[in-house]
């Protein structure tokens, strides 16, 4: 199997590109990961980037204990990136409170895939423009303000990792997978939940034909229509070919 991947992203409307706090990475053996740094964290973008890089380079086993041990790497990367001794007082106080991010990691291998998730980044598995599976959330009302998070303060992770979600499945030639950060995932979940397969099909066809220009036009129109929470948005589209 071969995978063709396109990634589209936009920072929150009104923000500068450098304030974008989602992260995406693809490894060399079918590993992919998306992370969404939480606004209330200190330098959450660095933590999110460290998480996805660590995942695609050496993904953990899908157990809470294995993920907790694996997370030491990204936590240290985040720590080392901070010049603790020379921070302004307010940045120091904020940095001491740490950072946090969500994660969705997926690995494709031999027509099989398995994924793990902490938080509200969603994976959508589609075939011929029909939804086969959504993961880890399945209903629009599950998108809230308090998703499970991975923390740089290691002692806070036990509670989150008790909520570690794992899944596996098989794929076929022509399948399309979408990995989408929370705001846009909530929009798509609403369409799926509307119970109108024709409508869902139309939107999946549209997403299958996205390019950068159409993606930005889509985000702009959804924001204008009040159908999208103003947030960083990332969509990774994976075709099995």
């Amino acid at each position: 199997m071969r995978l063709v991947v396109h990634v589209f992203s936009a920072q929150k409307d009104g923000n500068q590109p450098e304030q974008y706090e989602d992260a995406w990475a693809r490894g060399s053996h079918g590993e992919m990961a998306m992370s969404d740094g939480a606004t209330e964290g200190y330098n959450a973008a660095r933590f999110a980037r460290a998480i996805v890089k660590a995942f695609v380079e050496a993904p953990p086993q899908s157990t809470p204990g294995a993920v907790a041990a694996w997370l030491k790497g990204p936590i240290q990367t985040w720590h080392k990136g901070i010049d603790w001794a020379n921070l302004p007082w307010n940045a120091q106080a904020k940095a001491e409170r740490g950072s946090m991010a969500t994660l969705l990691g997926i690995i494709f291998q031999d027509w099989k895939w398995n994924a793990l998730a902490i938080g509200d980044i969603c994976l959508f598995h589609t075939r011929q423009y029909a939804m086969l599976q959504t993961f880890p959330l399945t209903r629009p009302e599950e998108f809230g303000y308090t998703p499970s998070l991975l923390y740089t303060k290691a002692e806070r992770n036990a509670k989150s990792l008790a909520n570690l979600k794992v899944i596996s499945g098989q794929c076929q030639l022509g399948d399309m997978f979408l990995v989408i950060s929370d705001a846009l995932a909530a929009w798509l979940m609403n369409i799926v939940a509307s119970g109108d397969p024709k409508k869902a099909q139309r939107f999946l066809e549209m997403l299958a034909g996205l390019n950068q220009k159409r993606f930005h036009r889509l985000i702009k129109s959804l924001l204008a229509a009040g159908l999208l929470k103003n947030d960083d948005v990332t969509l990774a589209r994976i075709f099995v070919v």
């Binding site: 209330e40 200190y42 330098n43 001794a85 007082w89 120091q92």
Partner: protein, 278 residues
Amino acid sequence: MYTAEISRKEPTLFVFAVDGSGSTSRTLANSQESIAQRIALALNRLIFELVVRSTKGEDEVRDYYEIAALVYNGNGVQSGWVGALAGKEIAKISDLAKSPARLEERKRKVDDGAGGLIEVSTKVPVWFEASPSGTTPMCEAFARAKALMQSWIAAHPNAYPPALFNVSDGGSTDGDPTALARELQALTTSDGSVLVYNLNVSPTATGEVLYPADDNNLDADGRTLFAMSSEMPPHIAAALTENGTVIKTGARCCTINADMVQIVQALNIGTRPASLES
């Protein structure tokens, strides 16, 4: 109402009106410190918290909050900022981040993320001071707060509504501020009315009443404070309830003869947004 997201585009305003009359030099029970010192400490800690909440990275403080800290005493009403912001009335949170009057240093050990501890020196900032003297011109303070809020709301008509926190240890000496307090409560953004908190502190905390829902058992001063205070919005009531305080329907944003712990709780929860930009 009271659901607007606090963001850089739509910040909110907190006005603190602090009684700096001579009586605030009284020492608090079980403490070496005066009422004035402890109020200043509470306010500086609160601003510290708001600055930290607004800090995103090394060089980025997002302007979610604008703050005025007025002192009213025998010298009238003046801004309580000291240092670079002295004389300024409304300060943006990013200006406060940049301009503490001084930083008091202390050493602390923190987690190094790898199971160990590293020693860091923590800096505790000071922005606000009050020197107790003379009378309690609360009407003048409310009039000043009203003027500040009126022009602020004109520039931010859709913001999360501003709040006034009046912290005092006694009654007004320049008349009854009730009418002015009601005029303040009549100021509105599209998200609701200005909230007026009256936080009365007592050095001994005897006869305390927290967030009364009626004025039946209050003395004359207590009834005035009750009449001056906004009805508590549900999200503030919920946050106080979560903290273990009993809140009845119709409770007012008002404490009478409270101790400093209760004043700090009221300030912390009153400045907690229902929704902060994500």
